[in-house]
Point group: C2
Chain length 693, copies 2
């Protein structure tokens, strides 16, 4: 492990391995084949196939890794050289993982937004090679004089480097003289070989030869909110909706919905996502519970967009005006909440696009426009867009719509079913929008197969829905959470929604209140991005029979909820969600994606993981470690031993450390093997903070 | 599964999915982003990192695979277009693997040597989309007239294609008319939708739109011997060596060694590898059993190359002359045996290079030249080459040496310890030599970590030594054999030597004669490349104590072996090796690398695998299937059930088929579940041929 001085705070990165910058011109490449003099391969961060840029969010701790090796036994070293978007150049030392696969790595947290470039540089580490041989040989009395002279010559070489600090050069001049002095015993010469101060000189500024420079790579760093956030979803029409005396309902509006904002902010949510806010089609409108014939007063699905009053560029008159919307966004912003809009590229039959641009849809031989369908099923309230008849026209219109909402203060879009539109369309749209405003974030609601789901992320989506809701057992969660933290983190950022208007899993339907707690705790602590759809805190767990959605679904009707009453009656999860969001805010380890480590427990329902952030890469400059122990069986009391790899947070196996349960406030002394008992009906999850000793 | 006509025999490939060639100009790309209109990703064959060309040998059955998908539910198709080195262009249809990962694949065996290019082409399969929808909807009485008209318009489009055969166009004209004829019932129209002849028209020549053309890829096809061969290794100095009356030994020569060639040929070996044939250094020569001081008469290690009589360009005088060597190579060739030479880039202290080119070695501060060492151990009979002092000089010299031996009839080099020389040197050497003669094959003797081992293969080595000798349990072998057949086959071809002068594993030391049989049978059947070092057939299993090498190692002395006597006494494995090589010759399935499939057995020592070659890609035009069942515990009798996935060779689960044991001649009727009993002391391995029904 190479130790190093901390970099000054003004740098656009945090790193545990920064070195004094050595100008690139000092290096030379000997490369004349595909392989360099020292082999460098498989650089990362990267994306599968290498066609797309890998990405990170500002402040994300990213492992920079490469394969590097040379022939024979001589020692090598590996650096990574980073160029920030504004031109800051920095050099960081990698450590050998010694995993048998010749992988090298270091952790760096880039903070500046934009496209970074990086390259790996491998070199023969002449001091380390000599140190290893001289240590063995002088101690064994083999070739001692020769090894001393070789060392002296290396120190001469270092002294000749003008960029090396004068104090170092003075020490090395003296050391070279002593190595050559036959009056100095071999035992004393060995002390020079083993001098930690000298070793540190060469760790900071290696004596390098055979320098091999890898290819330049790129890394896109996006704003922190692209990768970190607690999301909340509500239907503005339900917030403040009132049932009138005649039995009809008066819709909530942006003004009434704004009254709910302080409650959402008090729970600690950071992004508020609204289902489509546009006029809802009247032709073939769906009724309650997805019935085909709407009754008078049924508000329809917000995803059936468009009437003669307007389409994607228009606010539903029942919600208010565009000015009301702007006021809502401002009010949210004042509370620290960012508003995310839905982008659902489809049209109700009465959407203005249908009359004005029938070429944006599919016209059948009988002259009719094709409904959405999955033969023989039909979805007659929606016309899917056909992107192939007039791609340029559609692109221009969607760009106009997106720019319009950006101009109203929206920076985040939750995109409905992007996997039913051409991948290349999204690649184009996101690149075009981000070129104008790199802060705009797109979340892909693509519940689809792994290939298209991952391709959408690579093509530009900053966030993704995922399979989280269907990963419920310990084994499933351990694999899934490890996967999103490690395997796909260079390009995909799953946002772990615990429920949506479309998803009420069997786990929630039948897991009772403990199930709701468990899922929220895992989502909030395992991933820096998670989300909750309103009603979760009221344990709304009744499904439409035979489906995986809530009965009396809010997609097709207004919901009336008594948030405060539920809290007063002790029947709300809101206080728990509030505490989870507080913990997320206080613990930067939870605002990272890649620092997830699963640990062992002897019980098949006790999931154990930790999230650790080292001081050198932490925004606070202090290390932060959280251990989560969750009983994922919501129907039982479980007790077991949990076995921790405490070395991850710098504690030697067997040593004791103090933990605090951030939910209950309990304190315990833990070590690497600990007994836990988790009662699903009391607190099914420990969220433990490791106290610094 | 798309069926298709067989391609004419003159084509430089064999394929089960060839289509009538459709000129590239008929296609158009709509690509204007990184992603095409239809997503294509992760093409293979390929190499990790994509920097090096993937490779195959002539006649090797290669899976061509890609990820391909589009938005929504419409059907797509995928082709691969191949360009042979001489310009043959062909088109092949991929099948969806339906594995949930949107992978598509087909098997093609390129036969022409050289650099092939290929690209994947994805398209909306308009006929298949309509067929699926029309089948469901007309049967359900939904939109029948509309679906009929859409189909008629598709058929009109096909009829307008001038390249479509007239007979097809006539059928489709009629079908379109019937679809439009209101006198034809929907039930009859459904018959047209489901007409297999029409489906076959469109399988052969799809109605494609949204055509997306992937990037051109390359595949290097090398000669068959680069990937297929049974190797034998002997020390020519031992073949015909005689102990004289004074106790000294008269070395064998190329002339005496040539007398052993018919015996090697009779065993069925195809490549004969000779350890270095050059003068052996006298300075610091090693004695018997790797002792430091040779006694008079000790011949020394052939890998300590060079005396004042000459170095790498010279034949050891005791073996004969260069003319004798050429005669030996010719005699081998007449018996169908190719001679492989060793290329060991190191020098004995008395090698001419040392005096003439001290700059090719490392000179120490005391003026001496550095021995090979692994501190504090020293290898004083060998000077390692330093490739960095005069790289151009060394490259020129090595190229001269290699060209010299090529001019003497050598086409194959077994390279000693290539991982102790710069990777980029090998990349340059092999590319340079293969540009002059693409038939030259290099085998890397790199017993090292996975990264450098695989990098050497990617950088150009046609063959590699591997971890095979250390994979002995069923679980180890199943993983290893699957790995070399699938995961690394695009760039690495392990040659499964069962022993070498350096390797006599504990399995062989303590496994008795059954152990020798088991290892040979697995090596010969699981991999198209395998090798045997002379003495294996005599069960030479005594190791130098504490080592993993034979005692009285042939590297340091002459060996006197009575090949014929051992056979006569029934104490030789030669008849078994002979039968293995006959089986390899008669069964093209065993001359393939990537067709390995592991099957299940209930016993932890019964290894089961099959090798299947489909008729369409077989050089014989007939399918070939071998099932191997091996008891890898050489000390026991084992009986168990084996469970086969018979679909691999086209047999439905539960159906019976006939097998013949190619070793014993026994015949059995097998199905997917079979009882086996394998007696290590009788025949530990079944090699079963599946009879065509």
């Amino acid at each position: 492990m190479v130790t190093s001085k901390r970099a000054p705070r003004s740098r656009p990165w945090r790193s545990s391995s920064a070195l004094p910058l050595r100008p690139a011109k000092a290096w030379q490449s000997t490369r004349d084949t595909e392989t360099g003099r020292i082999a460098l391969a498989l650089p990362s961060p990267t994306t599968p196939g290498g066609r797309f840029r890998p990405k990170a969010f500002s402040g994300e701790v990213v492992p920079f890794r490469t394969t590097a090796f040379r022939e024979g036994h001589d020692r090598i070293g590996v650096h990574v050289r980073l160029y920030s978007p504004s031109g800051d150049e920095s050099l960081h030392r990698l450590s050998a993982l010694n995993d048998g696969f010749d992988r090298w790595a270091t952790l760096i947290a880039p903070t500046e937004q934009g496209v970074w470039r990086f390259r790996f540089e491998a070199f023969a580490d002449d001091f380390a090679t000599w140190e290893h041989a001289a240590d063995l040989k002088i101690a064994a009395g083999v070739d001692a004089a020769l090894m001393r002279e070789i060392g002296a010559q290396l120190f001469d070489r270092a002294v000749a480097e003008r960029s090396r600090p004068v104090a170092q050069r003075r020490v090395l001049t003296d050391a070279a003289a002593r190595l050559r002095d036959i009056g100095v015993s071999d035992a004393d010469a060995l002390e020079i070989v083993r001098d930690p101060a000298i070793a540190e000189f060469f760790a900071q500024r290696p004596l390098a030869s055979l320098v091999t420079i890898g290819e330049l790579q790129e890394l896109l760093v996006e704003r922190e909110r692209a990768g970190v956030g607690a999301w909340y979803e509500f239907f503005p029409r339900s917030e403040g909706a009132r049932r009138l005396k005649d039995g009809t309902v008066k819709s909530g509006t942006f003004r009434t919905a704004a009254k709910r904002l302080p409650g959402v902010a008090a729970m600690g949510f950071e992004v508020l996502y609204l289902p489509p806010i546009h006029p809802i089609g009247r032709l073939n409108r769906k009724g309650r519970n997805n019935t085909l014939d709407a009754q008078p007063g049924d508000p329809g699905s917000p995803w059936a967009i468009g009437t003669t009053e307007g389409g994607h560029d228009t606010v539903h008159p029942e919600l208010g005006t565009l000015a009301d919307f702007r006021a809502f966004v401002r009010a949210a912003g004042a509370l620290g909440i960012e508003v995310a809009l839905d982008l659902a590229l489809q049209a109700a039959p009465d959407h203005p696009w249908v009359a004005e641009h029938p070429e944006w849809f599919t016209t059948l031989p009988d002259g009719s426009i094709a409904y959405a369908e999955n033969p023989p099923k039909k979805y007659q309230d929606i016309y899917p867009v056909n992107f192939d008849n007039d791609p340029e026209g559609i692109k221009a219109e969607v760009l106009r719509v997106v720019r319009l909402w950006i101009s109203q203060g929206v920076k985040t879009f939750r995109v409905d079913n992007p996997h039913t539109k051409p991948l290349q369309f999204w690649e184009w749209l996101i690149a075009t929008v981000n070129a104008e405003d790199p802060d705009v974030v797109f979340l892909a609601e693509a519940f689809t197969r792994p290939a298209p789901m991952q391709a959408l992320a690579m093509a530009g989506f900053q966030q993704s829905y995922s399979y989280f809701t269907w990963r419920n057992t310990k084994a499933e969660l351990e694999e899934f959470l490890g996967w999103i933290a490690n395997d796909t983190a260079d390009f995909m950022r799953p946002n772990l929604f615990v429920n949506t208007p479309d998803i009420l899993t069997e786990y929630l339907q039948f897991g009772g209140r403990p199930g709701y707690k468990v899922r929220a705790a895992i989502a909030a602590t395992a991933s820096p991005l998670y989300g909750v759809y309103a009603g979760y805190e009221l344990y709304e767990n009744v499904a439409r029979p035979g489906s995986e959605e809530n009965i009396d679904n809010e997609k097709f009707e207004y919901k009336f909820r008594d948030w405060g009453g539920a809290v007063d009656r002790g029947e709300s999860l809101a206080p728990y969600l509030t505490r989870l969001n507080e913990i997320r805010r206080e613990h930067p380890a939870l605002r990272q994606r890649r620092n997830f480590s699963a640990h062992w427990s002897d019980d098949d329902a006790i999931l154990v993981y930790s999230k650790h952030l080292a001081a050198d890469v932490s925004p606070t400059g202090r290390s932060d470690t959280i251990i989560v122990v969750a009983n994922v069986d919501p129907h039982s009391v479980r007790q077991t031993m949990v076995h921790l790899d405490t070395r991850i947070w710098g504690v030697r196996p067997g040593d004791a450390f103090e933990v605090e349960d951030l939910v209950t406030g309990d304190h315990w002394t833990w070590s690497d093997h600990n007994f836990v008992r988790l009662d699903a009906f009391h607190e099914p999850v420990h969220i433990l903070h490791v106290k610094e000793s």
